[in-house]
């Protein structure tokens, strides 16, 4: 009886989350029925397609890959967090070192990147490129978390 109840409970939870996601998908599709009536009337542009340019397509493709691994990472972290909920977490020391040096590096790096915008046109793409590196970094950190969870089991 207990097993049956927990099975039903899990199904109910999954059903509820899936229900919200299904509603989100349907409403997204409805929202995209309307098309933009704006035509590009800027004197310095040509007619653009739905993806605007090859560069945009490249960023979108990389973004899709990042999206996949990011969601996978989140799922891994959450499922392992659930699995280890009752595990006694020992308090361990904060071992991060090189605080001042790393801080200076990060701050100076950001300042230099912004300064580089003045060097030439193509440096402007550094911003979008770095914006894709942030979630890649987080994917790696989530990978480390999953590894730590597995070691604790």
């Amino acid at each position: 009886m207990k097993f049956l109840l927990s099975d039903l409970f899990d199904n109910s939870l999954r059903f509820r989350s899936v229900k919200y996601l299904f509603l989100a998908t349907i409403t997204s599709l409805l929202a995209h029925q309307a098309k933009s009536y704006a035509s590009p009337k800027l004197s310095n542009t040509a007619e653009s397609g739905i993806f605007v340019s090859p560069e945009t397509i490249v960023f979108i493709l990389i973004g899709v890959v990042i999206f996949f691994f990011y969601i996978k990472g989140m799922a891994g972290v959450l499922s392992n967090a659930v699995r280890t909920y009752s595990t006694d977490t020992k308090t361990s020391q904060d071992a991060f070192t090189g605080g001042i040096t790393n801080t200076l590096l990060a701050v100076v790096a950001s300042a230099v990147v912004i300064w580089s915008y003045g060097l030439g046109a193509y440096w402007l793409y550094l911003g979008p490129i770095l914006c894709l590196l942030s979630p890649i970094g987080i994917i790696y950190f989530m990978f480390l978390d999953v590894k730590a969870y597995k070691q604790s089991l």
């Binding site: 939870l13 509820r16 989350s17 919200y20 996601l21 989100a24 409403t27 929202a31 995209h32 309307a34 098309k35 933009s36 704006a38 035509s39 590009p40 800027l42 310095n44 542009t45 739905i50 993806f51 340019s53 960023f59 979108i60 973004g63 999206f67 990011y70 989140m74 972290v77 967090a81 659930v82 909920y85 361990s92 020391q93 904060d94 071992a95 991060f96 605080g99 801080t103 990060a106 701050v107 950001s110 912004i114 915008y117 003045g118 046109a121 193509y122 402007l124 793409y125 550094l126 911003g127 979008p128 770095l130 914006c131 894709l132 942030s134 970094g137 950190f141 978390d145 730590a148 969870y149």
Partner: protein
Amino acid sequence: MQPTEFVKANLLPVQGIITLVVLGLILLALAEYVRRTLVRNTHDFVIAGRRLGFGFGVAGIISIWTWAMAVMMSSAMTYQYGTSGLWWFTVPNGFAVIAIIPFAKRLKETMPHGYTIGEFVSSRFNGAKLARIVMTAGLFFGALLAIIINLKGTSLVISTVFGVDQGTVAIITAVIVLLYTALGGLWASISTSTLTTLFITVPAAFVVTAVLSQVGGAEFVWQSVVDKGSELLSVTRPEAAVGFGITLALGLLTATIVGQDFWQVVWGLKGREVSRSFFWAGALFYPIPICLGILGLVGIALNVDLTTHLNGDAAAVGPFVVSHIGLPTWLIFSYVFVILSACYSTIDGSLSAIASIAAVDVVKPIAPNIPEDKLFFYTRLSMVVAASIATLVVLSGVDFVTIVLTTYAIRTAVLIPFMLSVFWRRTTAGGFVWGTIAAIAIGMPIHITYGELPGSIAILVISAIIPVILGLLGKEKFDYNQLRQIKDFDSGSSTI
């Protein structure tokens, strides 16, 4: 140069509402999962059971720190001052997150079972009520202000792009975020914030790339800006520093170091993750404004006029550029998704902060033996109250400058006394309280009469001198080991 002809994208109000709801449903699904599996008592609700890991910590902090207004302000400051504006907006922003590390590390080690810095102040000064009240007021107003500003900013953007009434946007946003945050507390907040970091970073990258391509490429933008003056691509313009940079830098430091939305993450993280989570959050936050600031350069290149096109509000340059240059609809939606993600994550972080303040600094001191289920009820109620107040402020159209000034005054005045209390044994309760009060009493009139910078300096100097003098005159030396005696809530009983 031939003036640019802008054409507003023909987007319907219902599409704006659908976008709000879609994001809300996605986050609600995640919050529901988290609630069912990881939130089993008030301790889990308020502090995620102190089980937050590195990845979620970094992503959650980034998202909490990326306000909807920040997404637009990076473009706005670039539009107004060129890359000097972007420099002064961005560099102190990431640093403010990293700057919390020494304080976070210290308190995590000396007070591992803490929940709020109001609680720390009370314990540090042997239960001094006035000190706790001052700190709690600063924390509460800070969190409330974050909700108001993000609600206001989002309402502005959605109404500009889709034509939805601002009040409607504010209500829908508040209800959605309240719903999923009240479900799962800090776990839900951090989990959804982790997801929204993805929704902020990836779309920002391809939207900005698309904008550059749409208007004629990076060369066109860059050359157009240079033609208007090479100083627009210089990072050394003093007017950016004086105009907003220095006071913003100070304000950012108070927002993180004296912000409960960050301190709840400090105490919610596992012990070894605190420093590196905040470091990488600050470092990986930087690309967001660095990328979105390019929209400000595009605004300059296209001769976007502050008065004619932006109604005098430079913060509108990003939404204006994206929605008026003929981009495909789905890209405009993507940009709106970035702003909504930033908004939702900051509001949920602030609501969680208010929940912990209510539980630990208000309810528990008044009723120490309150049953777990009643504590949980009041914790959730505090979120509803805060969301309602914030929504009413936005709906009423009331100028919330008073709230801004109050928050600014308390947080700036409390900053140095708090920093001293974390590290210096000789800081006394009197020094903390009177340093703060005197700083506000003297510094705020200077602020009003002579401006922000002199006012801020006055507040900081007074709030530093008084605690130091009283500390040196006093004989007390606090034993920080006392803080280890603070215990968690009773995590044995379930409330859900």
